[in-house]
């Protein structure tokens, strides 16, 4: 468990670096409420982007994106709404992104980014 949690944190940090390199501003990380947790909230121009990060060390258990099931996606949408209700900042458009981080032990990490998953 400790290994997985550590891997998750490392993956999220890699994702944040990736998003910031693309010119997005991270406004919130690991935001929690009773519905669950949002990994990253960022702004991309006028959009508020909610990012789900999935990290794996190998493809042995499938591609990271395959772990985002329709149920998890629906929860992510509810979480996004909950975050919007909780924040004071104005929110015009929202978007849900997914970032897959493949981080093998002895190789540079591979990052894939899907915008506006539905």
């Amino acid at each position: 468990m400790a290994h997985n949690a550590e891997l998750g944190r490392r993956g999220e940090q890699l994702a944040v670096d990736h998003l910031e390199a693309r010119g997005m501003q991270v406004v919130d990380r690991n935001w929690r409420c009773r519905l669950g947790e949002i990994d990253i909230v960022a702004r991309d121009g006028g959009d508020t982007v909610f990012v789900e990060v999935k990290t794996r060390t190998s493809h042995d258990y499938g591609h990271p994106f395959e772990a985002i099931t329709p149920i998890k996606l629906a929860r992510l949408r509810r979480l996004a709404i909950a975050w919007c209700e909780a924040t004071d900042a104005p929110v015009s458009r929202i978007r849900i992104d997914a970032v897959a981080v493949l981080a093998p032990a002895e190789a540079p990490a591979l990052i894939e980014h899907l915008e506006g998953i539905s």
Binding site: H63, F65, E66, I68, L73, A98, L114, E115, I117, S118
Partner: protein, 514 residues
């Protein structure tokens, strides 16, 4: 370009339509959607294709793939679209050449290991592709020989999805795989040998009727006690029929392919022989099925012989479904979403016992069947069906005297009989050139009786005219006797039927009643 396109073939009955298989790759969570009226087996391609691609060594991208089969309204079934779907997806991912797959029609089912499995109905599918103007098809290695029977088409047989992808410009490392063998091998192994006509002892009348049936394409009804040789006679009929012409051979082979039977190394050139058991249902005879519409025995007998032994034992509903194909030469099967048409231009031979015990009318038998039972038994073969049968003959049991007689002079052999049949058919074809018909039995009555046509006229048909007058035969029966008379004349080498031929034809039709 994330949209790639290739082609496959959807079969409804024997008729194939080209189906465009489009694949779109979108930057979405991994998913695989197939749209365009797939049936259950085709919808499962989703799972087959992704696993096959991974195991073959050319994985699909982990994005959403949408596959559209157009025209979307045409119902599609089966697993033959797997190869086209997989290649369209690989092209959408940029792994293989768009232009290359666009030019080729793909057919074949994928196994989870990425090998290609043979599918049924390759011959009609490739034929449809050729008729639609496509000159290259890619098929499973096990189907390649069958696909190559279609003239003018370049056939590429491949053993696995990886091999197909490499042929379309995919940069993968080739792997050696063992091709999936075809399900049933052998060259037309289940075609019955039939036996020689010379084996039939005595029964000159029945042999003549058989010869006439073969020469003119007439339907035949054999009535007689058990052991008289009815089944033996009927099984000799395909042997004395001439070889199929190229079009018929292609059609017979297509039906065989659709039924999932082996084709061997060449087209079927001998006429098929189908003898369904009397417990067969109407669906078994004409064909059926809710999604995949399969041909029945009458369709498989097209251009050959459909033999119904013990005909009164068939349910009368089953016998009467044959009336439509006997008249039109086609069988249409209607379903909610499609109509399948099959050719069914078969020659019908039915055999029956005269009564349930089989002894009626036989010297020395102690038949106790009451008249009502006898009538009911034969009445199961309905009047409208009988009316369509040109030759109706009584086949008696052979007597000792008859056996002695034939012992010295061997009967007509199959080879001799076939020569006479071919000669008679040639004469008929010459006479009928410029018309859509080939055999005497196919000539429609009104055309036959038309001015200056083939009605012999004068006093030649005086007995026949009288029979019509008395109500002994129907108008349809009249036409059929005329056709038989022409066949008898052709067999005799006469230029036109004489009074003797017409009389003989009338006897061959009404001999049972006499």
């Amino acid at each position: 370009m994330p949209v790639a396109r290739t082609r496959s073939v959807a079969l409804i009955g024997l008729a194939g339509s080209i189906v465009e298989v489009e694949a779109d790759l979108s930057a979405q969570l991994p998913g695989f959607v197939i749209i365009g009226l797939p049936d259950a087996a085709l919808a499962e391609a989703r799972d087959r294709v992704r696993s096959a691609a991974v195991n073959a060594g050319c994985p699909l991208p982990q994005r959403r793939l949408t596959v559209n089969l157009s025209p979307a309204a045409l119902p599609k079934q089966g697993s033959g679209f797997d190869l086209a779907i997989a290649l369209a997806c690989l092209a959408a991912a940029g792994e293989v050449s768009h232009e290359s797959i666009d030019r080729v029609v793909h057919l074949g089912e994928l196994g989870l290991d990425g090998r290609l499995r043979p599918v049924d109905g390759i011959l009609p599918a490739v034929l449809a592709a050729a008729r639609a103007g496509h000159d290259t098809v890619m098929v499973p290695a096990a189907n390649a020989a069958e696909a190559a029977l279609v003239p003018g088409v370049e056939v590429i047989g491949v053993a696995s999805l990886l091999e197909a992808a490499i042929r379309h410009g995919g940069e993968y490392e080739a792997r050696e795989v063992e091709p999936v063998p075809s399900v049933s091998g052998g060259d037309h192994a289940d075609v019955p040998p039939g036996g020689d006509l010379a084996d039939v002892a005595g029964n000159e009348d029945a042999v003549e009727a058989l010869l006439t049936a073969a020469a003119g394409g007439h339907h035949l009804y054999l009535l007689g006690p058990p052991g008289a040789g009815k089944t033996m006679l009927a099984s000799r009929l395909p042997g004395i029929l001439p070889d199929l012409d190229p079009d018929a051979a292609l059609e017979v082979s297509s039906i065989r392919s659709l039924s999932g039977r082996a084709l061997g190394s060449g087209l079927m050139v001998r006429p098929p022989f189908e003898a369904p058991h009397h417990t067969a249902t109407a669906a078994a005879i004409v064909g059926g099925g809710s999604r995949v519409i399969r041909p029945g025995a009458a369709v498989r007998a097209s251009h050959g012989v459909l033999f119904l032994d013990e005909a009164p034992e068939f349910p009368s509903a089953v016998l009467d479904v044959l009336r439509q194909p006997l008249e039109s030469g086609t069988i249409s099967i209607h379903r909610a979403n499609a109509i399948a048409s099959f050719p069914a231009r078969f020659q019908l031979v039915i055999a029956a016992n005269p009564c349930p015990c089989g002894g009626y009318g036989v010297k020395g038998s102690d038949c106790t069947c009451p008249p009502a039972t006898r009538r009911r038994y034969l009445a199961r073969i309905s009047g409208p069906l009988l009316d369509r049968i040109d030759l109706q003959v009584w086949v008696p049991r052979i007597t000792t005297a008859g056996l002695r007689l034939t012992g010295d002079a061997p009967g007509l052999s199959t080879a001799e009989a076939r020569e006479r049949v071919i000669a008679a058919r040639d004469v008929a074809r010459q006479r009928l050139r410029g018309t859509p018909w080939r055999t005497n039995a196919e000539m429609p009555g009104p055309w036959l009786r038309g001015p200056g046509r083939l009605h012999p006229g004068g006093r030649t048909t005086v007995e026949l005219d009288r029979s019509l007058e008395r109500g002994g035969i129907t108008m349809r029966g009249y036409d059929r006797v005329l056709k038989t008379a022409w066949t008898l004349a052709d067999l005799d080498g006469a230029t036109a039927p004489g009074r003797g031929h017409v009389g003989r034809a009338l006897y061959l039709r009404k001999g049972i009643m006499a």
